[in-house]
Each structure stands twice: as C-alpha cells, then as structure tokens.
Amino acid sequence: MAKINLENIRHSYLKRPQGPQDWALQQLDLEWTDGGAYALLGPSGCGKTTLLNIISGLVRPSEGRVLFDGIDLTERPADRRHIAQVFQFPVVYDTMTVWENLAFPLRNRGLAAAEIEQRVQAIAQMLDLTEMLQKRAAGLTADGKQKISLGRGLVRADVNVIMFDEPLTVIDPHLKWQLRSKLKELHQRTRRTMIYVTHDQTEALTFAEQVVVMHEGSVVQVGSPIDLFERPRHTFVGHFIGSPGMNILPCEVGDGGVLFAGQRIDVENRPTVPLNGRRTEIGVRPEFVLLDERGIPVQIIKVSDAGRYRIVEARCGENPIKLLLEEGVAVPAGNAGVRFDPAHTRLYADGQLLE
C-alpha cells in the first residue's frame, strides 16, 4: 500500500524528440492517494496507456521521477514495484488450471504451499471462481479469463496498486456491467488503489472516485465525476464528458460583459484579468439551455428522442446549440429562443476555464 507521486514526468517514444508533437506525454505532476479508485479517461492515443505503463514500470519515462511513498522507483522494473496490471486482452497461462494461474505469482515469489492454498481460495471466492478452480484456464470465456488476470493481482498481499488497461474491451455488453460492479465491490472490500484506463466515460464515471481526464498527452482535469460534469476546467472535458457534450460557443468579452450573438450572457465566472487577444468561448451543457421566447433567437434543426428526454439540435447563425427537453414539453418548430442558466454557464479562454 502506497501513495504514488509522479514528478515532472514527460515521455517520448522517439530518441530525440523535437517539438511538442513528439511527446506522447507532456510534462505532468500527479498524486494518487493510497486506496483510491481512479479512472484515466481520454480518447484513443491521448497517452493514457503510456502514463499507466510508466506507473507500472513497463515504460521508463524520458524525464521525471516515479515515487511510491516517497521512494524513487523510476529505475525499478515492473516485477519489483509491487504492482499488478490487467490488460486489454485477457492474459491467462493456457496450460495451467485456474488454480495454478492464481497461484502462479505466489509460487514465483516462493510462498509456502499452505499460504498459497489459503489465498487462492479466498480470492477465488471473491471472484466467484471457486467452482472452476480445477478447470483449464484456456477453456474459460473472456470474462472468466479477465477475472483470472485480476485475481493474479489480488492474490498478492504486496500489491500497491492494480492497474486496468481497458479491461472490458473484449467482454460481452451484458457481462461488462456485471464485471464493472464486481470491480467496484472489490475495491470497497480490499481498499487497494486501482487505476482504470478507459475511453468510455460511463465506465470511468461509474467506477472511479477520481477521474483523470487526458487530452493530447496532457492531464486536463482531475476531479470527481460530479466535478467533471458540473465544472469542466477545459472545453475538452466539457465536450468529452456528458452525452451530448457541452455546447462550446465563441463569444466576445468587452466592457459590456460577455456577448454571444449580440446578446449579453450572464456567466458564473467573471473575467478578472483582461483577455486581450485570447480565444474566448462560453460553455454550457445542454441540460442548462432553456427555451425562452425572449432569448437568443435560434432555428430548430432536429429533434431526437432519447428516452426520458429529447435532444433538440438548434442553430444560432453558424453555431450549433444542443438542448435537452423533458418528455411532455412542447418542442417549438422553426424559430425559437433560448437562454442559458447563469449558474451553469462559464467563460473559457483558450480552452481553459477562467478562475
């Protein structure tokens, strides 16, 4: 069990990185508290697997230090960092039984037979694998194999952190949900630090207490699921999280306040510094766009039904605006007006939330 710190970490897969585009991971500092459930969320290619492999020791960072409880482990390989990792595709040792698979990491570390037996039984019970212990691992379904991969991490007492690299990719949809709840339950029972890499916001938001959102090699926000939804600190977070994502609308900031489409918009965060020359945008989630005849004039383009509510796609000049309407609310056709809830409308400069 340990607190993990990443200090000034930066990584490139090239030998001589030139510009910023050569860095798979831009410089970052991160702290992972002991026992937390983290998700590392971002689109494919944003550097999340690289970051994960740096923590596990499978990749050595080009720059910076990895500290476990203040001890520098940057140079130490994966097998000596007391970590466990579950990969995208289940890794099982085909020729072994389920029992032998679970016992493998303990046998390699030279534990006594009685202790191995006791731990394997305990973990098998936790993972509902007791019935299958004597079966050949090769014969299991993908979710069973993924449980074994996880079990090989849980069975060890010395594990500081268990890392998951998109572990549900090959699992059937109806089992994904089960396995996800299982993970959550296991986290609560064992209180081991878990870091879960995914590009799926549902997986991240349901599993994690803290979500680390990555974009183009940088960490753009670390926060609870509620934070990410309510106060996105970057337009990317607003757009990436939520379905549909946040409306990002270009605006002008001057003496008259924030102007969009010629109208003054009340925002929650007022600019305290001059924003000369910076790209300014307002962000408002579709949930907080309201119909108002006296508001900003828009054209309704399309209405789609999403169950309990409807998604209305509108257009104001060149800018698309989405809003959510509950069932039963009349949807105006053609021209309409909207306003933004001031408590949930924020100003962004160059993509960053102004604070």
């Binding site: 994966a78 990969f87 890794v91 493998f104 390699n108 570390r109 991969s149």
Partner: protein, 288 residues
C-alpha cells in the same frame, strides 16, 4: 441437409481438382497397388499373387534393418532439429534491422536443392581434401565416411541439420512473433523466471507451429533419399541404407517390382500411421 438447396453444379467446380488429384495421386498409387499383388515377367506378363509380397517384405530381415535405421535416423533428426530450431528462434531479435538479416540467413539453406547439399557435404567432409574432413582428422579423430558407419551417419545428420533446422526456426519464430506483448508484461509482473516464460507462454503458444514443424521434419526425414545416395549410396556396407535407398535398390537395382511395390505401400502406411500418432499426441489437449 436442412435448409440447403442441392446444387449439382457444385460437382462441375470440383471436377478440375478431382482430375488433378486423380492424375498425381490416385492413379500412380493404384499402379503401385497393382504391381504389389502380381508377379511380373518380361513381355508384360502378370500373374496374381495376392498378399505374398507383403508377407515376404514384412518377414524380411533386410526390411527390418532398413526400417530400424530409418526410425533411428528420423528420431535423431527430430531430437536435434526441433530443440535447436526453437533455441535459435528464441535467440533471434524480435525487432529492428537485424530481423530481416537473420530471416534471410535462415532461409538460405532451404533454397538449396537436396542433391547440391549432398554434393557439397560430400566434398566438404572428404578426409583428405575436404575442409571439414581434413580438419577433423587433423584434430586426431579418425574420420572417413566411406569406411566408417559412424562417420557416414555423422555427416548425414550434419547435412540434414544444416539444411533443415531453418524450417523449424522459421516456423517457431512465426509462432513467437504472434505472442502479444501483454503476455510478457503480465509474466514480468507475476515475477515469472525466463524458464517459466518459456514453459508457460512461449512453448504453449508455439504448439501449433511446432506440430507442423515436427510433422514436416518427420515426413521429410523419413523419406530421405538424395543425401545418403549422393554421399555413399547407402554405404559403407549397408550402414546408411535407409528405407528409400533400400526401396530404390529393390525396385530399380534388382527390378523386383512386386516386392518393391508392396514395400512402397507398407512404407507409405508407416508414415501415415506415425504422422497420425504425432498429430494426435500433439493436439490431444486442444479439444477440451
């Protein structure tokens, strides 16, 4: 068949293949079967003899001796080439510019015809002027493949290992390359030793390609003819008279077509049986 339409046109499409197989396999084989049950005389005179030739071959000491030599030879070949091939494949680089260099070097022996390999080693191992033969003699060993059975066998085995280990290497290398990195990473995290990685990841993942490699090397080595023929013609004495050398002696040397045909069929059935046993043993766990 439920839900399938019967379409007689299908036969038309497989006809070319049927014709091809008939011409290159069935018809020659039937000719051999035909010879194996008859006594042949000049002027195309044939007399039916039933299974007489089969009985004769199966009870002949000469056949037993050739078969014994053949089994020992194939056994030695497999025992050397398979482990050596796997070891070389494991030692080859997995990425970088050296991969192509190694693959080309490995493929080179496979491109050389059998009789050229035989001729090369014949000269290479000559005790007086051959580089290898002379060298071994200079080291103080008495090496002469035309006089000593051991020398002849050693040369023959060296030749085959040089020629065909590459095939095992290439197949094993293909099997190794197909293992995803995650397996090695997981094994590392699990604290597995290099031996455990080989035993529990690499070897099981190579199983299918090794099955193919073993079958190919078994069948080829069991059929070997050109190399011993070029080296000593089956000598010294009968030391390297393996099955096919013996068969050709009977068929073309003595012109005993009946016994030769019966021996061909027995030879063929032995290969078929042993290949099936290898295959069954190596794939027995996969059906679970």
């Amino acid at each position: 068949m439920h839900g399938k339409t019967q379409n007689q046109m299908g036969w038309l499409f497989v006809l070319p293949v049927v014709a091809l197989v008939a011409f290159n396999a069935v018809i020659p084989l039937m000719a051999v079967v035909n010879y194996s049950v008859q006594e042949t005389f000049g002027n195309n005179m044939f007399f039916f003899e039933g299974v007489k030739w089969f009985e004769q071959v199966l009870h002949s000491d000469r056949f037993h001796a050739s078969l014994g030599r053949q089994l020992v030879f194939s056994g030695i070949i497999l025992a050397i080439e398979v482990p050596l091939g796997v070891a070389i494949a494991l030692a080859m680089p997995r990425r970088g510019v050296w991969v192509s260099v190694c693959l080309v070097l490995m493929a080179l022996p496979l491109l050389i015809p059998w009789n050229v390999v035989g001729a090369m080693w014949n000269i290479f191992a000559l005790p007086d002027i051959g580089m290898l033969g002379r060298f071994i003699n200079d080291l103080g060993f008495n090496f002469n493949y035309t006089q000593q059975p051991i020398s002849a066998w050693a040369t023959l085995i060296a030749m085959d290992v040089w020629h065909w280990t590459s095939l095992v290497v290439l197949l094993a290398y293909a099997g190794l390359s197909a293992i995803p990195d995650a397996y090695y990473q997981a094994a590392k995290i699990d604290g597995a030793s290099a031996w455990a990685v080989f035993r529990y990841i690499q070897l099981p993942k190579m199983r299918r390609v090794l099955t193919i490699a073993i079958l190919l090397r078994f069948m080829d080595s069991f059929n070997i003819h050109t190399e011993p023929f070029v080296l000593t013609g089956g000598g010294p004495g009968n030391a390297t008279t393996l099955l096919s050398i013996d068969l050709v002696k009977i068929a073309l040397g003595q012109f005993d077509l009946g016994p030769a045909a019966a021996m061909s069929i027995i030879y063929f059935l032995i290969i078929l049986l042993l290949s099936w046993i290898f295959y069954a043993v190596m794939t027995r766990d996969e059906e679970q």
